[in-house]
């Protein structure tokens, strides 16, 4: 099941490899089918998922199957290392509350990404091969429970992304692509060392061998006391934690490692921005939750405050930067920096409310930001510019578009009734309830206002009022005597066309539904999160 959902896109990619590159439509359809199939599988997994089982650590008797679901565990590589026993790597997939939401999100976003890739005309074949490779890798990261496997998927993501930005990107794409690549690689190479270190510090209780299994690593009693990352080796545990954290923080992206994001977004084509903001950023925080925190709980406790502060900086700093942007897409990019700050804050809280909020925020940010970037893409396709002050009064001329933008914008500024609000609220509730992060929470609340400020301001400048003199489109009086506008060299429908609606409407519906009744997602999270919080709580650690 999970293998299927992971490797479907790659299979599609191979199929496309066989298709002659002239058959663009076939290629598109193949990838769309793959994405849809992925979606179906995701739904099946969702239906079959039992929210009662917590996951996170091994279940009763150290058997991962006890608490993880859809587990697939086959030995992959077993090397004889002479004097050092053997190096065992497993092909180990499974989902728990933390990952299943992300799996669903990934399926959703990559399907929508395919739809919005329809407009790509240049080297369609290569594009979709890389795209599918990327989709597989992302999905793999979320379901991998073997650190080695996770790392492989993690690194495999980089190259397709590099080319997708670098070949199909905007004018300044080379810079953005290489910047993205180097940043993220820099983050992940240290992960390699930590991974090896962990391997030699952890014993699988069942087999008695060293293991890469994250499940075994997540329970502290499996650590060899005096091993390099064993409980006794405090200094190295701290270093390892920090190194890992930075690795993930770069993906999040956390201030001050965020500077790759605006460049990457501005240059990347719309679907890639959607993937990037919708899924890739989540990998950073997911990595923290899955690997960074449960493996080093005591260090996490020591560093909650710092993480919280960085979260707050992200929230407010991102909001301010967004306020100053002229380029709409850059503004949205900064807004997602700001919103990922909420995730960090929620995680820093370390209590159930905060963590649930953080994960829910990850999901919502995925859907909402996808919407935002799609909408930006819509106007960019028409006007070939994203300068906010090149528009004005669009609401009169593109009512449907304006309506959707309003919904998306308000979702992004956390309006009650839309999903973003609940997650932010939970994050604040959690952050405030925890003694450690209370002052940080108080400061971060300012983010609510500034978030509203830049969103409403851009909304006003683009959609309200009247057409500006130097706008990117012309006014003309239609036959019915009403004013119309038309963009230069834009042949398509002025307002949203069917394909665009097909991408946007599902997201809007999800946003509204989850804003009114969040339990479908939260229900899957809670037990896992409570377990996680328990694992992280100092009480549990002290008794170990």
């Amino acid at each position: 099941m999970l293998s299927l959902i992971v490797f479907l896109p790659i299979i599609a990619g191979l199929v496309i490899l066989a298709v002659p590159s002239s058959q663009k439509q076939i290629i598109r359809i193949v990838s769309l089918l793959a994405a849809l199939a992925q979606g179906v599988l995701a739904v099946l997994i969702w239906r079959g998922y039992d929210p009662a089982l917590p996951g996170i650590t091994a279940g009763p008797g150290g058997s991962p199957l006890g608490s993880f679901q859809f587990v697939e565990k086959v030995p992959w590589i077993s090397l004889n290392l002479g004097g050092f026993g053997s190096l065992n790597i497993e092909y180990f997939l499974g989902v728990d509350g933390i990952s299943i939401t992300m799996v669903i999100l990934t399926a959703l976003v990559s399907a929508i990404g395919v739809l919005s890739s329809w407009t790509i005309q240049k080297q369609v074949k290569g594009y979709f091969i890389l795209y599918n490779l990327l989709a597989s890798a992302m999905m793999g990261c979320f379901v991998a429970l073997d650190f080695f496997l996770f790392y492989v998927f993690w690194e495999v993501m980089l190259l397709p992304m590099y080319f997708l930005i670098g070949i199909w990107g905007g004018p300044n794409r080379e810079y953005a692509a290489i910047k993205f690549f180097l940043y993220t690689l820099f983050g992940s190479v240290f992960m390699l060392l930590v991974m090896i270190g962990l391997y030699f510090s952890v014993i699988d209780p069942v087999t008695g061998n060293h293991t890469f299994s994250l499940v075994a690593m997540a329970s502290q009693e499996n650590y060899i006391k005096d091993a390099i990352l064993g409980p006794d080796n405090v200094m190295w545990r701290y270093i390892a934690f920090i190194v890992l954290f930075i690795g993930f923080a770069i993906k999040v992206p956390m201030f001050p490692f965020h500077t790759w994001l605006p460049d990457a977004h501005v240059e990347a084509p719309t679907p890639i921005s959607v993937i990037l903001a919708g899924v890739l950023l989540k990998l950073g925080t997911y990595g923290m939750i899955r690997i960074n925190f449960p493996l080093f709980p005591e260090v996490f406790h020591a560093s909650m405050y710092v993480i919280g502060i960085f979260g707050a900086i992200n929230i407010i700093y991102g909001a301010f930067c967004a306020l100053a942007q002229q380029d709409l897409k850059k503004m949205v990019a900064y807004s997602s920096i700001s919103h990922m700050g909420y995730v960090l804050l929620g995680l820093a809280a370390g209590n159930s409310e905060g963590m649930v909020g953080a994960l829910y925020q990850m999901f919502n940010h995925g859907t909402i930001t996808a919407m935002l970037f799609l909408l930006v893409g819509v106007i960019y396709d028409r006007a070939h510019t994203r300068q906010i002050d090149k528009f004005g009064g669009l609401a009169s001329y593109m009512p449907v578009y304006a309506a959707l933008v309003t919904v998306a914008w308000f979702a992004s500024l956390g309006l009650p009734g839309l999903s973003g609000f609940i997650s932010e609220a939970l994050v604040f509730v959690g952050a405030f309830s925890s003694e450690t992060t209370r002052p940080i929470a108080i400061v971060s609340v300012l983010g609510i206002v500034f978030g509203a400020a830049y969103l409403l301001w851009s909304l006003q400048r683009m959609f309200l009022g009247k057409r500006k003199a130097d706008a990117a489109y012309d006014l003309e009086i239609g036959a019915d005597g009403h004013e119309h506008i038309h963009f230069h060299d834009w042949k398509g429908k002025l307002d949203l066309d069917g394909r665009e609606l097909a991408m946007l409407v599902p997201l809007v519906l999800i946003t509204i539904f989850l804003g009114i009744y969040p339990m479908p997602v939260l229900g899957m999270l809670t037990s896992s999160i409570n377990k996680l919080v328990q694992v992280l709580s100092p009480v549990v650690m002290s008794q170990m």
């Binding site: 080379e174 700093y317 306020l323 009064g393 009650p416 009734g417 206002v449 939260l522």
Partner: protein, 764 residues
């Protein structure tokens, strides 16, 4: 589930239904579906009228309260807390019932009115949809039984007000106003949200009932300062919504919205929601918090009144008077005159709505002329409007025989009593400001009446340079495609706009509320809405010192008489005087046996009753004074307003420019944050990226990277230790001279170097 609850849910959802229908299908429906809006609201009003009847009239019980809730979010078995759920729920008590009726009634009237006023607008259908979602959110606030739900609907009314203020979004002024309103409210909401968080972080619940129970049980772990802070922060929500100083700036601009909207949202209901909310949290407010509230209320009341006297835009005058009246209500709550200020809330809602609709009618008739200087002599053309407008004005000014008199007087009495109890001094400032603004109110309303209805029409006097207003008039005219006033004569408005005026005016008469034209306390309202007992208690009247969970015996002396009468309240005067305590007892019994009462409030009420007649005298004098002045200035023209304005020009300008608040905010917060954002984004692109990118510039200067890409990748590459890497690279490669003999020399050198290295290591 209690049948009333079911009904209330229906009431709550009906407007939402209207929203959904209209937003999607208005273009497909005849008349853009306005009848659906009106019809649905009619039904809603019918039901809430029934609720009102069965709660207030049938079960005539101050302590009436029914509640119902359901689990909305289930966080499972949270470590350290246990099973944790976030519940949503509905509570119905007297206050709810009254508010329910009031909101639906006014909303219904405004719907009806709008069918005339907005007729022919190109977004006519969308307008009713927005009204629908507004009503829904407002009812949500009224019905919610917990802070979280209130916060949700709080934001939703903010949204709908945003949408409705910017309804004519082609006008930049409207677009600005809607943004301003939303942001100002958000600022308030931050405070409110923090307050909620403080309470939640202690009790892990949002429900009023549980929070108060916990507070009363003294489970509040943090210091009392936190509790006060929580109170003030929650109050900030009210400051934003009810346009209290210093966040009052948005309300006058909100008049950019259609006039019926101003009547519904920005006069009668939404702005009053702030007051309603403070009333809901009243029992957890510590004396310190209450003092802050009282002072802010007083300041607002006074400041707004002073501004109102010089405004020329008919709607702005009303807007500032609204701010000022809201100030009264907040003041009332602050001084502990709980019932009085809620009373004022209701009365004000009716007569102010009436005033706004009236002004709407005038504007409509005057072809969107809003400047009173160019009106005049309308009483002949618009008798109905004139009559209702005047009645409402008298109520607002607080002349006897009107509802406004009862409520305002009660508040002022409470203020005096409060000042007495608190030991005078600075606290006398509050009643003083109250009375003074009462006078100002009378003055500017008198001025308005005169300028609008009396004298001769001054339309022709309008100077040509004043064209922007005219311009607006015209493009709104365009917006109003229909030309039912194509002939440029002023005439009375149609019935569907007149009927609401009449109804509202009728509701501004004292008889509706109280048999005694001089004492609201004898009326049903103040009996049904007794002051609840605080749950943060107080050991002795001296302010500041709190005691959580006062042991009952300690207060027995005070409580006993009230308990005696608790069985049959609303009986002889003793009961009235102890109405508070009795209610306290009532509440106390609800809260599972613990009976707490609060000497401070009891005293204030006593003093308030004592001060009742003084209040009447002073305020009547003040009002008469005010109206008299208005006549002196504008009717008999003994004093020429222009000359006076010149004489006291600085004061005049100060008032005319609204105390320069907008300018101040523009200069400080808005400019400030814009500049800060610019700085930060510069910082981001140059410094952060700069640091992270290493010293990209230096590297570029470092020659080799000649074409732009290399520069960039040098940047990119040096995302870490850039400069060093490149320099070392550039330096090291110099070793590769291409001369084989140099290579050999290097080899020898290397060996020698090694040798020396080890040699030294061996020696030491």
């Amino acid at each position: 589930m209690h049948s009333l609850i079911q009904l209330s849910i229906v009431v709550l959802l009906l407007p939402l239904l209207s929203f959904v229908i209209l937003i999607f299908f208005n273009r497909r429906l005849p008349r853009r579906g306005d009848f659906i809006g009106v019809g649905i609201l009619g039904t809603a009003f019918g039901i809430s009228a029934y609720i009102f009847w069965s709660v207030i009239v049938q079960t005539y019980d101050p302590a009436f309260r029914i509640a119902w809730d359901f689990t909305w979010i289930d966080l499972g078995n949270v470590p350290g807390v246990g099973p944790l759920q976030i519940k949503m729920g509905i509570v119905i008590d007297n206050l709810t019932a009254i508010m329910l009726a009031m909101v639906t009634l006014i909303s219904l009237l405004v719907h009806l009115y709008s069918t005339g006023y907005m007729a022919g607008d190109k977004n006519y259908g969308r307008y009713f949809a927005f009204l629908g979602i507004f009503t829904f959110s407002m009812l949500g606030i009224v019905l919610s039984d917990n802070l979280f739900a209130i916060y949700i609907f709080w934001e939703l009314v903010g949204l709908s007000s945003y949408l409705l203020i910017g309804f004519f979004f082609e006008k930049d002024s409207a677009a600005d106003a809607q943004k301003k309103a939303f942001l100002a409210n958000r600022v308030g909401d931050i405070g409110m949200w923090l307050g909620i968080l403080i309470l939640y972080s202690q009790f892990h619940t949002f429900s009023f009932e549980q929070i108060y129970a916990n507070l009363a049980a003294g489970k509040f772990a943090l210091s009392n300062a936190w509790l006060t802070a929580a109170g003030i922060l929650l109050f900030m929500g009210c400051v934003g919504k009810s346009a209290q100083f210093p966040l009052h700036i948005w309300l006058p601009d909100a008049m950019e919205g259609p006039t019926p909207v101003s009547a519904l949202i920005h006069a009668a209901t939404m702005v009053a929601a702030g007051v309603y909310f403070v009333a809901r949290i009243f029992v957890m407010l510590t004396p310190d918090a209450l003092h802050v509230i009282a002072f802010i209320g007083a300041c607002t009341a006074f400041m707004a009144a002073t501004i109102a006297i010089t405004q020329n835009d008919i709607k702005r005058v009303l807007a500032y008077s609204t701010v000022s009246q809201l100030g009264y209500m907040v003041l009332g709550l602050g001084v502990g005159a709980y019932s009085a200020s809620l009373f004022h809330l209701v009365t004000h809602a009716f007569f102010k709505a009436c005033l706004f609709l009236g002004s709407g009618a005038i504007i409509h008739a005057m072809h969107h002329e809003q400047d009173m200087r160019w009106m005049g002599g309308l009483r002949k053309h618009m008798p109905w409007t004139f009559a209702t407008f005047t009645l409402a004005t008298l109520a607002l000014a607080g002349l006897p025989l009107t509802s406004g008199f009862l409520s305002k007087d009660a508040i002022l009495a409470g203020a005096i009593g409060f000042a007495k109890v608190e030991g005078g001094g600075i606290f006398y400032l509050i009643p003083v400001l109250g009375f003074f603004s009462a006078m100002l109110t009378a003055f500017y309303m008198g001025r308005q009446i005169w300028l609008v209805f009396f004298g001769e029409s001054r339309t022709h006097l309008k100077p040509a340079d004043n064209h922007h207003a005219d311009h607006h008039a015209h493009d709104n005219h365009a917006v109003h495609g229909d030309d039912h006033h194509a002939d440029h004569g002023v005439h009375e408005v149609s019935w569907n706009m007149r009927a609401p005026l009449v109804i509202l005016a009728a509701l501004s008469v004292f008889a509706v509320y109280s048999p005694d034209p001089l004492d609201g306390a004898k009326g049903w309202f103040m009996k049904m809405i007794p002051t609840p007992a605080t749950v943060v208690g107080e050991a002795n009247p001296q302010k500041g010192a709190l005691l959580a969970a006062t042991p009952a015996p300690h207060l027995a002396g005070i409580v006993s008489p009230s308990e005696v009468v608790a069985s049959h309240p609303a009986a002889e005067p003793v009961a009235e005087e102890h109405g508070v305590a009795s209610a306290a007892a009532g509440h106390g019994e609800e809260k599972g046996g613990h009976v707490y009462s609060d000497p401070r409030q009891a005293e204030i009420v006593h003093a308030g009753h004592a001060a009742h007649y003084t209040a009447i005298y002073i305020s009547s004098i003040m009002v008469v004074l005010g109206i008299g002045m208005a006549f002196v200035v504008y009717v008999f023209r003994i004093i020429d307003p222009e000359k006076t304005a010149q004489a006291i020009r600085p004061l005049y300008l100060f008032s005319l420019n609204k105390w320069y608040w907008d300018e101040i905010y523009e200069a400080t917060f808005i400019k400030g944050s814009i500049v800060l954002s610019k700085i930060l984004s510069w910082f981001d692109t140059n410094v952060v990226d700069g640091i992270v990118n290493g010293v990209a510039l230096l590297v570029r200067k470092f020659a080799f990277a000649n074409n732009s890409f290399d520069k960039y990748v040098v940047d990119g590459m040096v995302n870490f230790t850039a400069f060093t890497v490149n320099t070392t690279g550039a330096v090291l490669r110099k070793l590769q001279t291409g001369k084989v003999q140099t290579y050999v020399a290097m080899l020898i050198l290397a060996i020698f170097g090694y040798f020396v290295f080890y040699f030294t290591r061996l020696i030491y």
